[in-house]
Symmetry: C2
Subunit: 188 residues, 2 copies
């Protein structure tokens, strides 16, 4: 009983001594989440709008390319939408960490848990799409897969561009996880 | 001065109250690292040995497939080797966390930092390779990329199999990061 009292007194005084240190981290956490929302939303929309129709056609066939010709690009849109949704749902928790003077360790650990899984998901989706973009640009002579970007230059440009948002969001998540662990190491 | 004394007393008594809780986590951390070493090493070696020569040839051409026909598979081996090397280097730190009764927060934060970056690297490498394996199996009719696995069945099987180790290691890393954050939230 005596010991428990000491622990609480110690923790409370420590939290009062460094209230701004973790608040700064919490604000940065919120900013990173907003940045990652913008990145993933931009990626999903950019990929969804990538389409190009070539200015010639045969009687039976129209030459066009769009994202749903490639399973990896469909996956990319789905993954980015999921991540964007998760980020929107995690915003209230992040705001709570800014507002409350002493954030509980449990909500931070939960955020690290979910952030890590979402980081893996986002990285997987973005890398699979990047591998396909690379192949579309360069082809693979050993497998007789020819570059499609020589015909569909515009399509390839928009697809390549839409990857950027995802990679920005990935860097954001890595920083988020590190921030949370720093906050956890300080805020107890 | 009085407050500082209270903080230290509180922390020390808390650490003495729960010494086994974080030790169990540290042992699990070590086991996960050993598992991930086995996984990434197996993946790198498995991919490196994947080769198949078809039982026919023309005067000018021998039909064979091996990992270095695909840039993504070369990348896969490099990434798995880097991750395996990092894990080997991180073992002493992990052992230190088991041996020492109160591990410092700094070494844990450093591990979370590096683990997160390495998780992103490993996921990127494994996903790019998985995208190529998927394409080798199924082809893509829109881009006129035909499946190569109909001829190179054995090659495709060994390549697909070698992905497993990487994905086991990925799950290991996600658990490592979560474990570290739980340990950080307890051990202060």
């Amino acid at each position: 009983m005596m010991k428990a009292g000491l622990v609480e007194a110690g923790e409370a005084s420590k939290a009062m001594l460094h209230p701004k240190k973790t608040r700064g981290l919490a604000v940065f956490d919120l900013v990173l989440r907003l940045l990652a929302i913008a990145g993933t939303l931009g990626s999903a929309v950019g990929m969804g709008q990538a389409e190009q129709v070539l200015p010639f056609s045969t009687q039976f066939f129209r030459f066009d390319a769009q994202y749903d010709d490639f399973g990896e690009f469909q996956l990319f849109i789905i993954v980015n939408s999921i991540v964007c949704g998760y980020l929107a749902l995690s915003l209230p928790v992040s705001v709570l960490h800014v507002v409350r003077r002493r954030a509980s360790g449990k909500s931070r650990v939960m955020l690290v848990f979910l952030d890590t899984i979402i980081l893996a998901l986002l990285t997987a989706g973005a890398s699979a799409a990047a591998a396909m973009v690379y192949l579309a640009h360069n082809g693979n002579s050993a497998a007789n897969w020819f570059s499609v970007c020589q015909q569909y230059t515009e399509f390839c440009q928009s697809v390549s561009g839409s990857l950027i948002g995802s990679f920005i969001a990935m860097v954001g998540f890595v920083m988020l996880i590190i921030l949370s662990s720093v906050a956890l190491s300080r805020n107890h």
